[in-house]
């Protein structure tokens, strides 16, 4: 296994197959928690942690897990790490766990994580799988933070992650903070990415 392969598997998650834009998976958290950049970042990091751990363990056990019951095994492994994240955020990042709420346990059914287990970790070595998980996770974090920043900046007029309490607009475009705004913002951002990236994603 060469270092270039490792870099390749890591970097594909950052642009070429960045979820949830190129790989249209994990939309629910992407829409629900991105009212602020901070929440997006928190959600992204939680998902990345689970993704790296579960990809590594599944890859380690790929020769032990029988093929017929593999999905059930994957779900148990993923659920274990999600429970860890749930407890860690409750203990050390209480505010974050309050604002993400339901969506922390719901990382279990985030299609990206099960999708990477099925598409990558069951066929590849531990190190490669971890690189893939880290790349995908960081891409997801980037996307969520970006979307959160756009929705927060234009929808509420603040950007708490960078500027603290500072307010930029008196009358922000509050539509973006609401549920419909989430759909529209994500859809338009997807179009923008396709415009910049040239080729269309699947």
């Amino acid at each position: 296994m060469s270092a270039s392969r490792l870099v390749k598997e890591f970097s594909k998650g950052l642009w070429r197959e960045i979820p949830p834009f190129r790989l249209v998976l994990g939309l629910c958290p992407a829409l629900a928690v991105t009212t602020t950049a901070e929440n997006g970042l928190g959600m992204g990091i939680s998902a990345t942690f689970v993704l790296v751990c579960s990809n590594g363990l599944i890859s380690l056990l790929r020769k032990v897990i029988p093929n017929e019951v593999r999905v059930a095994c994957y779900i148990v492994i993923i659920a274990t790490f999600v429970v860890c994240v749930e407890m860690i955020t409750k203990a050390y990042f209480f505010e974050l766990s309050e604002s993400l709420g339901l969506f922390i346990p719901l990382i279990v059914v985030n299609c990206i994580i099960l999708g990477r287990a099925e598409a990558f970790a069951k066929k590849n070595g531990v190190l490669l799988s971890r690189a893939d998980g880290l790349g995908m996770g960081l891409g997801f974090t980037l996307a969520l933070t970006g979307l959160g920043a756009i929705r927060e900046f234009f929808g509420a007029g603040t950007l708490g992650l960078v500027f603290g309490e500072q307010v930029f607009f008196d009358q922000p475009f509050a539509f973006l903070q609401q549920a419909p705004g989430a759909f529209v913002a994500l859809g338009l951002l997807l179009g923008l990415m396709n415009l910049v990236g040239g080729s269309r994603g699947r």
Binding site: V24, L25, G26, L27, C28, L31, A32, V71, A72, I75, V76, A79, T80, V82, V83, E86, M87, L102, P105, L106, V108, V109, N110, C111, L114, Q178, A179, P180, G181, A182, F183, V184, L186, G187, L188, L190, G191, L192, N194, L195, R200
Partner: protein
């Protein structure tokens, strides 16, 4: 009775699980390209979600709470849902083949539909009793079905119109979903 009506209308129209709570968006965009698949998925979700809501409530109150092991709730619930989906699949294949034919391929997908796990957890967090939990699960599933079928109806029309290439498929789907969500906002005055 009034309370039950409020729960039903709230879950279907005002806090629609797809459009206001953002649960179950992957199947929402995945299976909404054709009307038949949307109806099939909606039927399967109504069936499984109601059952799962009831069973997870019972497990929480008679198994997890007495032993003080609520912290494994996430893991327990997802396992119950996965098993339940398998059981429902086997049961339908044996006893109601016609329904199995219609719902068949959608059943395995439901395990990873976050609407199911989401509603099960909301039932516990809101402290509903068993009856309320069943009503809320069924109503949420109905709301899911309604939004999915409506959305599929709109999306079928994209076949005949020209959409800018960059925004084709998922992009325009998301924007449309946003407008549908906006129209559901009008129900806010109902309660």
């Amino acid at each position: 009775m009034n309370h039950t009506m409020e729960l039903v209308i709230g879950a279907i129209f005002i806090n629609n699980i797809l459009l206001a709570k953002f649960l179950g968006n992957c199947p929402f965009l995945g299976v909404s390209k054709k009307m038949e698949t949307a109806v099939g998925m909606a039927g399967a979700v109504v069936f499984v979600l109601t059952l799962a809501g009831m069973i997870t409530w019972l497990v929480e109150h008679y198994l997890l709470a007495p032993f003080g092991i609520e912290y494994i709730r996430t893991m327990a619930f997802i396992l119950i849902i996965a098993t339940l989906v398998q059981f429902v699949e086997l049961f339908l294949r044996k006893s109601i083949p016609a329904l199995y034919q219609a719902l068949g391929i959608f059943l395995p997908l439901i395990t990873t539909n976050c609407a199911v796990l989401g509603v099960a957890i909301i039932n516990i967090q809101e402290g509903y009793d068993l009856f309320d939990a069943i009503v809320f699960s069924a109503a949420s599933a109905a709301g899911f079905g309604l939004a999915l079928v409506l959305f599929a109806g709109i999306r079928e029309r994209f076949e005949t119109i020209r959409v800018p290439k960059q925004i084709e498929g998922t992009g325009i789907g998301l924007v449309t979903a946003g407008l549908l969500a906006l129209s559901f906002f009008a129900f806010k005055g109902m309660i």
